[in-house]
């Protein structure tokens, strides 16, 4: 290897952004650890085909050398830091927000509330989520005001100076309670069931009547977080032509730009959204969060504004995985072949719809498992509660229903004294099988995956 040179730790490299021409500063620790930078370049792949090769990922060197520019590494001259005040109460009417004391603090450059947001709602299927709550708080993680200050510390201190007066309202936290007629409505006057899906094929009544054994069980799952190492983060800045540029950890910039255009009431061509390297997504960065707030604070102050969620906000103010309550009823013949399966899914949908409709749809379609079943009936619903919003998370409801259908599969196997591998082989989809929605399936390899895994584990019954 060639010579190394240690870079002056205090040095900052000014890099002009190619499109805006604005200077973008990176911290000294992000500078190349070794010079010249052509050291350690991976060997060029001289031959095609490129597909099927264990190609070194294009960002590997940057990650390895600590050069990957995540949002929190980016510094723009004059940049301010934003923080959002969280409600801390799950269900309340907002009687007043007093920001005067915070605004008077030295170093605080701007404070905004939901009333400053041109169109204060968003959401991928239902626009039921305010960017900042104005009249009503729907869950404890709702933002109610935002501050831009010259340092993160001052912004955090300013939050404590913002006084919000609440009138507590009835709340509901259990999805089964929320289904009851007399339950408090989370988004009145709408009812608490905000999405529903039914899938039926054949006649489950007939299927159960024809079954030798019928199994019934309820399964439940919990709320979990994506926990990306990089929390939600963004920087917003404006140019003299009234265009806004937002650097964001979003995984979906086309949708994010449309959401920004809607909430800021701006033409799409005046918005530039740059997706930076995302430090973990897992479904949690599929829609805007603080981006409109940062854009408005940046416009109000005339300075770039950065916002990075705290770990607590990552849990309380971003989406999570839906808790499921799943009732499974399955009828089988004496050989363990499934004749009928009836499924009822109740999704704890949290305070806002977010990606619940998608989660509900996928969960319902997948809920009977990768199995040939003539008679199926699935009823699934997503229910509002005054809890953290639930949304997209790796698997969209599939890990929940897989836990239920595969647990019940083993229950059936052990009751009928059939090997768990064997009962799955008997029921698995094959090429040309019909799905619960009536789709003819192609490129199906359930049995091959079962046998491959079983052989590798030396499963005793394999090949017997």
């Amino acid at each position: 290897m060639n010579s190394k040179s240690i870079v002056d730790e205090k040095l900052h490299a000014a890099v002009a952004d190619s499109t805006t021409g604005l200077p973008l500063l990176v911290r000294s620790e992000m500078l190349p650890a070794v010079f010249p930078v052509d050291l350690l370049v991976p060997d060029a792949r001289q031959q095609t085909p490129a597909v099927g090769q264990r190609v070194i990922r294009t960002d590997a060197r940057q990650h390895g050398l600590g050069q990957t520019p995540y949002i929190d590494d980016m510094v723009i001259p004059g940049m301010l830091y934003a923080r959002i005040k969280r409600a801390g109460v799950a269900s309340a009417r907002i009687l007043g927000i007093d920001t005067r004391e915070a605004e008077a603090m030295p170093g605080v450059m701007a404070v905004i509330t939901g009333r400053d947001i041109p169109v204060n709602s968003f959401g991928p299927s239902l626009q039921d989520q305010p960017v900042l709550a104005t009249e009503r708080v729907f869950h404890a993680g709702d933002g109610v005001a935002a501050v831009a200050a010259v340092s993160e510390q001052i912004a955090a201190e300013a939050l404590a100076k913002i006084r919000v007066e609440y009138e507590r309202l009835p709340a509901v936290f259990d999805p089964l309670e929320a289904l009851k007629d007399d339950a408090p409505k989370v988004h009145p006057p709408a009812g608490n069931i905000y999405a529903r899906k039914v899938i039926c094929r054949g006649s489950v009544e007939q299927g159960f009547a024809d079954s030798k054994h019928v199994f019934e069980q309820q399964y439940r799952t919990q709320m979990v977080e994506h926990v990306p190492i990089e929390p939600h983060a963004a920087i917003a800045l404006w140019d003299a032509n009234g265009r806004v540029t937002v650097y964001s950890s979003l995984g979906r910039i086309t949708l994010g730009r449309a959401d920004l255009a809607r909430t800021l009431r701006m033409p799409i061509n005046r918005i530039r959204l740059v997706g930076t390297f995302v430090g973990g997504n897992f479904g949690g960065k599929n829609e805007i969060t603080q981006e409109p707030v940062l854009a408005l604070l940046a416009r109000k102050t005339g300075r770039p504004v950065k916002g990075v969620y705290t770990r607590t906000e990552e849990f309380t103010a971003s989406t999570t995985r839906h808790p499921f309550i799943m009732d499974y009823k399955t009828g089988v013949d004496s050989n363990g072949r499934i004749l009928a399966r009836k499924v009822r899914l109740v999704l704890d949908g949290g305070a806002y719809c977010s990606w619940s409709e998608t989660t509900l749809g996928k969960a319902a379609i997948l809920s009977t498992g990768p199995y040939k079943i003539e008679h199926v009936h699935v009823e699934a619903m997503a229910v509002y509660t005054n809890k953290t919003m639930t949304g997209a998370m790796r698997g969209f409801g599939a890990p929940q229903v897989c836990f239920a259908y595969e647990s019940q599969m083993d229950e059936i196997a052990s009751t009928l004294d059939i090997d768990p591998l064997e009962i799955r082989m008997r029921n698995a989809f094959v090429n040309g099988s019909i799905s619960p929605t009536g789709q003819v399936l192609h490129s199906v390899v359930v049995r091959e995956s079962l046998l491959n895994a079983a052989r590798r584990m030396n499963w005793p019954e394999v090949d017997s």
């Binding site: 060029a44 190609v55 399964y219 192609h442 895994a453």
Partner: protein, 338 residues
């Protein structure tokens, strides 16, 4: 005493959105030396998507993976994309990239055909050459053709395309329809030790046999599977957001929200299930989400195999398992008539 058990779980999972349009667009520009630039509106979220998309473009152009530079994630520069969601990038964006590369390649074929004395449809792109199919000794370097196209013919080799998976809307009353164009399938088998005096679970080994169609980059597929299993393991045994009676989270921090660390990870063996989906780019489907789908089910079945208790609510904490062992049954959920 530690008791060993094994549990099996299989699954199916769709690629792309449920019925709804989720298009991707892409632009491929072949430079005058035969290298190329791919513009995509998707974002690298750690899964290696940009590397895979570059490989797809390279394959279509007959050049090497690192001949393709990928520009992504800037709405001023890159074409629209539905983004990193629904395990769709390799399949949907990949198809768009392949089509865009083929359009750019068609310009090269048109320029090369008269130079090689054949028709454009007789040509193929391989090993950085434009060559005659079944007669590769008649060929031109791709860079020479690209330079000729741009600087002599005035026809720069640029292709743009979009792709969207074809679906059929579901009937609102019966759910009948074709919500997805394709699905992937997988099985995971978990081997665990359960301490029947403490309820503690040690996941020792997971065999993960996954179908993703053609693995465009096997190393990145393995990475997805290993990451997915870590999420599945936390879902099975540890992770849970807890609320107080007022609806406020009581453990929103990494001290009290327990998730797996490298110390909790089992030995993982990834098995590729041989498959080729003709609707995907070079036979590929996807793998992102499915990797975390069967893990919890397999672990819970393994716990049952080890100590004979069936936990029906996640997470299966040591406390829950121990209580179930003591009462020798399930964890107390009643059967509810469906």
């Amino acid at each position: 005493m530690k008791k060993r058990g094994r549990g099996i779980a299989c699954m199916w999972y769709p690629i792309g959105f449920t019925v709804a349009a989720n298009p991707s667009a892409a632009t491929v520009k072949i430079n005058e030396d035969g290298t190329a630039t791919l513009l995509t509106g998707t974002v690298e979220t750690g899964q290696g998507a940009l590397t895979v998309l570059g490989q797809i473009a390279a394959e279509a152009l007959g050049i090497a993976a690192d001949d393709v530079h990928v520009v992504s994630g800037d709405t001023d520069v890159t074409p629209m994309d539905t983004g990193a969601i629904a395990s769709r990038t390799t399949y949907v964006t990949g198809n768009a990239v392949k089509l865009a590369a083929e359009k750019a390649r068609a310009i090269l074929f048109e320029v090369a055909a008269p130079m090689l004395g054949v028709r454009p449809e007789q040509l193929e792109a391989r090993d950085r050459k434009i060559q005659v199919q079944s007669f590769p000794q008649r060929h031109l370097a791709i860079g020479d053709v690209a330079l000729q196209a741009q600087s002599v013919k005035g026809q720069p080799a640029i292709g743009s395309a979009s792709w969207n998976p074809p679906t059929v809307p579901m009937d609102p009353d019966t759910g009948q329809g074709k919500p997805f164009n394709t699905y992937v399938y997988a099985t995971q088998i978990a081997e665990v030790d359960v301490d029947d005096e403490t309820g503690e679970v040690d996941v020792l080994r997971i065999i993960a046999a996954h179908d993703c169609g053609t693995p465009i980059n096997p190393m990145l597929v393995e990475g997805q599977v290993e990451g997915g299993i870590s999420m599945g393991l936390g879902f099975a045994l540890q992770e849970e957001i807890l609320f107080d009676a007022e609806g406020r989270q009581i453990n929103p921090n990494l001290t009290n929200y327990i998730m797996p660390t490298s110390m909790d990870m089992p030995e993982i063996e990834v098995v590729f299930v041989d498959n080729y989906d003709p609707t995907g780019p070079f036979g590929a489907k996807g793998v992102g989400e499915p990797t975390s789908v069967p893990t919890a089910a397999a672990i819970l079945n393994a716990i049952h195999d080890a100590v004979g208790v069936r936990i029906t609510s996640l997470p299966a904490t040591a406390e829950k398992i121990l209580a179930a062992i003591k009462s020798r049954g399930t964890d107390g959920l009643k059967n509810i008539k469906a």
